[in-house]
């Protein structure tokens, strides 16, 4: 079998007249953790539902673990573990009952079920709640039950739809480290609209907006694609009017925006946004020397994924 665990080609889904997913193509290699990024309503969940055979594509093709999601869906579903959005789990079952149910539905070997549930329960930190009803669990624990369910049958591919939504910061850290651990042996796709999550867990990112794929690459590649950057300049304020400095800085070639920001006393701080690929540190330094400002700080902040994301998603909307 090839190393490509998921191949998506021109995948399209219409709901009535609205096109939720529009000709999306990407592929995921074995062992990758792919972050599926986009604003709410961009078509992330719909794409995942097609990959897990809950919905059928209107057009296009998706191969998961070497099988077509439409014509060979049973084979796909055997090899995929899925955690749907909002973790729907039968509330009237205990954690162990639910995992036993999932194992039986997956046709797992009866003699191995109990051992496997114990093993996966320990990994997901479910030891203390094994006998509790799912309906009585906190959201964080429910999420872990969902993760345990998705990994129960040792699938090649794990698909997680917003695995950390609605969790508190501590739970988020726990679930993320769990996902990272899963990612060591499995191919993982997770969707999110929280950017730090991608930086923390994913080896590759696909950004989708308005049903269309707008970017695909490693987090570093995507960051490099965003031109320009942001500079922070702090100048000692001995007698120099801040407006004068601001106007001078704003006149430098490439600066798109120059803003006065609050800083320490006795100094003026500015934030500069620049387009293009030129490094503005030299011109800023020269301007300071020419004008006899005392430069206290000069720093270039590299673009974060937030910037990339905002550029790609809001920018698109602005154009249309």
């Amino acid at each position: 079998m090839s190393d490509l665990m998921i191949e998506v080609e021109d995948l399209t889904k219409n709901y009535g007249l609205t096109r939720a997913v529009n000709k999306v193509s990407f592929s995921v290699k074995r062992g990758e953790v792919l972050g599926f990024l986009g604003p709410n309503g961009a078509g992330k969940s719909t794409t995942m539902k097609m990959l897990t055979c809950y919905l059928a594509p209107t057009a296009g093709r998706a191969m998961v673990a070497g099988h077509d999601v439409f014509s060979d869906s049973l084979e796909v579903r055997k090899r995929v573990g899925y955690l749907p959005e909002d973790t729907p789990i039968y509330r009237d079952m205990t954690v162990v009952e639910f995992l036993e149910f999932a194992a039986a539905l997956r046709g797992m070997d009866r003699s191995k079920i109990a051992g496997r549930i114990k093993e996966i329960g320990l990994r997901c930190g479910l030891g203390d709640v094994a006998g509790k009803l799912v309906g009585e669990l906190s959201k964080g624990f429910r999420q872990r039950v969902g993760l345990a369910q998705a990994m129960l049958h040792d699938p090649d591919i794990v698909i997680l739809d917003e695995p950390t939504s609605g969790l508190d910061p501590n739970q988020i850290v726990e679930i993320r480290s769990l996902i990272k651990e899963i990612g060591r042996e499995k191919t993982v796709i997770l969707s999110t609209h929280i950017l730090p999550e991608v930086q923390a867990t994913c080896s590759r990112v696909v950004i989708i907006n308005d049903g269309k794929l707008v970017a695909d690459g490693t987090p570093d590649e995507l960051r490099a694609r965003t031109h320009g950057g942001r500079y922070r300049v702090v100048v000692e304020s001995n007698g120099v009017a801040k407006e004068a400095i601001r106007d001078q800085l704003a006149r430098l070639a490439g600066v798109t925006r120059c803003e006065l920001i609050t800083g320490e006393e006795g100094s003026h701080s500015f934030a500069l946004d620049a387009g293009g690929t030129n490094d503005l540190r030299k011109p800023i330094f020269r301007a300071a020397v020419d004008n006899r400002w005392t430069l206290l700080e000069l720093a270039r902040e590299s673009a974060s994924l937030e910037d990339v994301f905002r550029n790609l998603t809001i920018g698109e909307e602005g154009k249309s």
Partner: protein, 237 residues
């Protein structure tokens, strides 16, 4: 174990973990017993279950929708259907599993009414043929009512709507029997074939005609098929 049985086992456990099963089954037994002993048995003065059987097409109209209404509607509204259906199960296995669970509960309710048979037998000689045939017929007719309920539950995410839809369809099939004489002559044979109770009358007399059995099996088959198609329709809508 096959996926359908795994699903029905879970569903049966859900029935008995909640008060629903106990309330519905005891209400059914109470009403069925009350009508039978209160109005029919002693008036007829005959040791026969005939009167009890005659009430069933009416009572099933309430019992079956009550036990089937949440089977698929609840799974849709809580989102668990997505989890269930993305496991390696076929849609028809989901529908069949739900149907079997409801049938198990219906059979349990009918099992309790065997107490009526025992009572009648203590009062006089009970004719075995019609009694056994009657219970067999009840299971067949119950299967048809339950299948209608499962189908209605597949249409909606609201279990109250499922109840009402199932009730209306059952009522339509039920009432036909009583309006036959007002129908034009040409329509009477087909109407009496579609009417759900007509076939049961034959069986409860101890006559098992293949046409009646085929009728009930077809209603079950068609309704479960439509339920399956309705589940599948998410894939192309």
């Amino acid at each position: 174990m096959s996926p359908a049985l795994v699903i029905s086992r879970r569903e049966i456990r859900t029935y008995f973990n909640s008060p629903v099963a106990y309330i519905v089954v005891s209400a059914f037994t109470l009403i069925a017993g009350g009508m039978f002993f209160g109005f029919q048995l002693f008036l007829a003065g005959e040791a026969s279950l005939r009167g009890f059987f005659q009430n069933m097409p009416l009572l099933f109209m309430f019992l079956a929708p009550a036990i089937t209404m949440r089977l698929l509607a609840d799974e849709k509204s809580s989102g668990t259907l997505e989890l269930l259906i993305t496991m390696p199960v076929r849609d028809w296995e989901v529908v069949l599993g739900k149907f079997l669970a409801a049938m198990a509960l219906l059979a349990a309710a009918l099992g309790l009414t065997l107490a009526f048979a025992i009572t009648v037998r203590a009062l006089g000689p009970l004719d075995r043929g019609p009694a056994i045939g009657g219970y067999l017929g009840l299971l067949l007719m119950g299967g048809a009512y339950v299948a209608i309920g499962v189908m209605a539950s597949a249409f909606t995410r609201n279990s109250i709507v499922a109840f009402i839809v199932a009730f209306v369809i059952s009522f339509a099939l039920f009432i036909l029997q009583h309006v036959i004489s007002y129908m034009p002559q040409a329509l009477q044979p087909i109407t009496s074939f579609i009417a759900i109770g007509m076939h049961f009358d034959n069986i409860s007399r101890g006559v098992i005609d293949t046409r009646d059995v085929i009728y009930y099996l077809s209603v079950m088959g068609i309704c479960l098929l439509v339920a399956t198609l309705s589940l599948e329709s998410r894939r192309w809508s």
